[in-house]
């Protein structure tokens, strides 16, 4: 394809018509080799162990009989665990939507309205997360305390409910969303918006047609980067819900930690991963289409 199109191009080069060439400066494929090698050894290796676990049977404490025993997967589909799966996915979805709603305007603001202090604003978003996650969550506990200022005087008493968990999740995942979205929004040529306004477009249509479309890959990346780890989260729900909300992450954690039942824990994880992969596949399909909209 490249060759055939290049020849008429060469012939037409002196001519004024500037045809869009299919030539794109590609970077050599071997640049992916380091990552690929790394993943193969240090990710697929442990994953192979995981799969082996899920097909094994527990024999004594911590010792397994390896084989091809799929009974663990059967157990995963009991109503108890399916209900927990469902609840987790919903909670993560709500958490993600909230994070997007809270974080997108901030990323937009940083990309559009700041120039000199752009990087600084980025840094300040991240600085709270260089204290420890445990301390932050306990500080959140103090703020949300049922006898605290917020609860008593403002009537916002949400401790130990799913709202507290939502607050905790949004709080801890905000930078994970803001940073990729900022990186993507940052390349926007804002003069396009001005041009659209000059041509009579209303601000929201300009936003929808231009900004959103051009930066959708970044937003979806950010949303996925938030949604996926949220489903595996168990420490935040534990601390802020006082053990009232049981997520898939808690169950998996319990199986690995308390029950030392690696086969069942692994089967649960792989099932969760398969369920999440559906979302990922959707993203890959959506993103490859969008990526042709270069600016």
């Amino acid at each position: 394809m490249t060759v055939a199109e290049k020849e008429p191009e060469v012939a037409a080069a002196p001519a004024a018509t500037r045809r869009r060439r299919s030539f794109r400066p590609r970077y050599p494929a071997w640049l992916t080799a380091p990552s690929l090698l790394y993943y193969t050894v240090f990710f697929l290796g442990p994953m192979a162990i995981l799969v082996a676990f899920s097909l094994a049977a527990q024999q004594g404490f911590g010792s397994l009989r390896y084989g091809f025993d799929t009974s663990q997967y059967g157990q995963v589909t009991t109503s108890l665990y399916l209900a927990i799966f469902g609840r987790t996915l919903i909670m993560a979805a709500v958490g993600t939507l909230l994070t997007v709603a809270v974080g997108y305007p901030v990323a937009y603001w940083m990309a559009r309205y700041l120039s000199t202090y752009k990087m600084l604003a980025l840094l300040i978003v991240v600085v709270p997360f260089w204290t420890s996650f445990l301390i932050r969550t306990y500080a959140l506990k103090i703020i949300l305390d049922p006898n605290g200022y917020l609860a008593r005087d403002l009537g916002i008493s949400i401790m130990y409910t799913r709202y507290a968990v939502a607050v905790g999740l949004v709080y801890n995942y905000l930078p994970l969303f803001i940073l990729p979205v900022f990186a993507s929004l940052e390349r926007m040529d804002w003069t396009l918006i001005e041009a659209a306004a000059d041509l009579g477009a209303r601000p929201f249509s300009a936003f929808r047609e231009i900004t959103l479309r051009l930066t959708l890959p970044g937003v979806v990346t950010g949303a996925l980067l938030v949604f996926i780890p949220m489903t595996g989260e168990y420490i935040i729900p534990n601390i802020l819900s006082g053990g009232n909300y049981e997520f898939v992450g808690n169950v998996i954690g319990d199986q690995f930690n308390q029950a030392q039942n690696q086969p069942f824990g692994s089967a649960l994880s792989i099932s969760l991963m398969l369920a999440l992969s559906v979302f990922v596949i959707i993203y890959i399909l959506v993103a490859t289409k969008e990526e042709r909209f270069g600016a």
Binding site: T131, I135, Y171, L179, P180, L224
Partner: protein, 306 residues
């Protein structure tokens, strides 16, 4: 008319951003305030020592309420034999993980962004797989992998800093790749084409054209990796061997008593980073004039390109 609307939009966005920053920093402020909290009066009554902060954690009383001001926790925290080494280890590992992950992610993003979708798909799937695994799961699986690897290859590092690093880079490299690629993909290749046309080689083009334009994404990716790595509990808890990282020390202390000493240390770290941020702001303001002038002269060509 239009100018007023744009100003209002800008004000609205700025107001929202300020609110969000306040939300992000509120728990931090609470944490910093409680770093100055004295042990409860009842606890002090039962303690027979000169330094209030030397009170054993088991006897500290209620420190979720304000009991009075003291600055002794800072000294207590700095002198604790386990805290500072753990913080240093965490910082070290986070910096290394971030650096390695950013390099790996950058290389992969550059190649993948313009690769044919069919070739790209398997790599993408692998990357997303790393994100989709719950952390406890990869932690346990990695632990076993490292132990077995060392049995087979005695040269393989034992459990410790290196194994923590290895495990974290798996997730971080995916993170950085996605962030940089999202930026790179929409960047457009016209400038690079122009550079090639003008005779610039691939490496020079990368250095002078691509890299500066990717810089925000690279910085964002590195920052995020560092943050994630520094704050990571689950993976290091399993792959650490005899290394203590800061989250590990904290988590273990929760059971028998977190004292305000940890608040004090976190506040010190916060202070240091904020100081660095302020210095950066001042430096930026100084160089702003120079940069603006430079921007003005290069702004025109950018508008002309399709």
């Amino acid at each position: 008319m239009r100018r007023r609307r744009r100003l209002t939009a800008k004000h609205a966005f700025t107001a929202w951003a300020v609110l969000v920053y306040a939300f992000l920093f509120l728990p931090i402020v609470v944490m910093a305030v409680f770093a100055f909290n004295k042990p409860s009066a009842a606890a002090l009554a039962g303690f027979h020592g000169t330094n209030a902060c030397a009170i054993p954690p088991a006897q500290i009383g209620n420190i979720a309420v304000w009991n009075g001001f003291t600055g002794c926790w800072f000294s207590a925290g700095l002198h604790d034999p386990t805290f500072i080494p753990a913080i240093i280890v965490s910082l070290q590992i986070a910096a290394e993980a971030s650096a390695i992950a950013t390099v790996l992610g950058l290389c992969a993003a550059l190649a993948l962004a313009r690769m044919r979708p069919r070739l790209r798909a398997p790599f993408d799937s692998l990357v997303y797989l790393t994100l989709v695994v719950p952390e406890i799961v990869i932690a346990v699986a990695s632990l076993i992998f490292f132990v077995q690897a060392r049995k087979v290859f005695p040269a393989f590092p034992g459990l410790g800093n290196v194994t923590i690093l290895i495990g974290q880079v798996v997730f971080n490299a995916s993170l950085t790749m996605l962030i940089i690629r999202a930026r790179f993909v929409g960047m457009g290749d016209t400038l690079e084409e122009a550079a090639y046309d003008l005779g610039s080689g691939p490496l020079a083009t990368f250095r002078q054209v691509t890299l500066p334009r990717l810089a925000p994404a690279i910085v964002a990716a590195a920052l995020l990796s560092f943050t994630f790595s520094f704050d990571d509990y689950v993976l290091p808890a399993f792959t650490n061997g005899t290394t203590n990282t800061w989250p590990i020390v904290l988590y273990s202390a929760v059971r028998f008593g977190l004292t305000p000493a940890v608040n004090a240390l976190a506040t010190i770290m916060l202070g240091v980073t904020l100081a660095a941020v302020i210095v950066t702001a001042v430096v930026l303001r100084r160089s702003r004039r120079r940069v603006t002038e430079g921007q003005r002269s290069t702004a025109q060509p950018a508008l002309l390109l399709p």
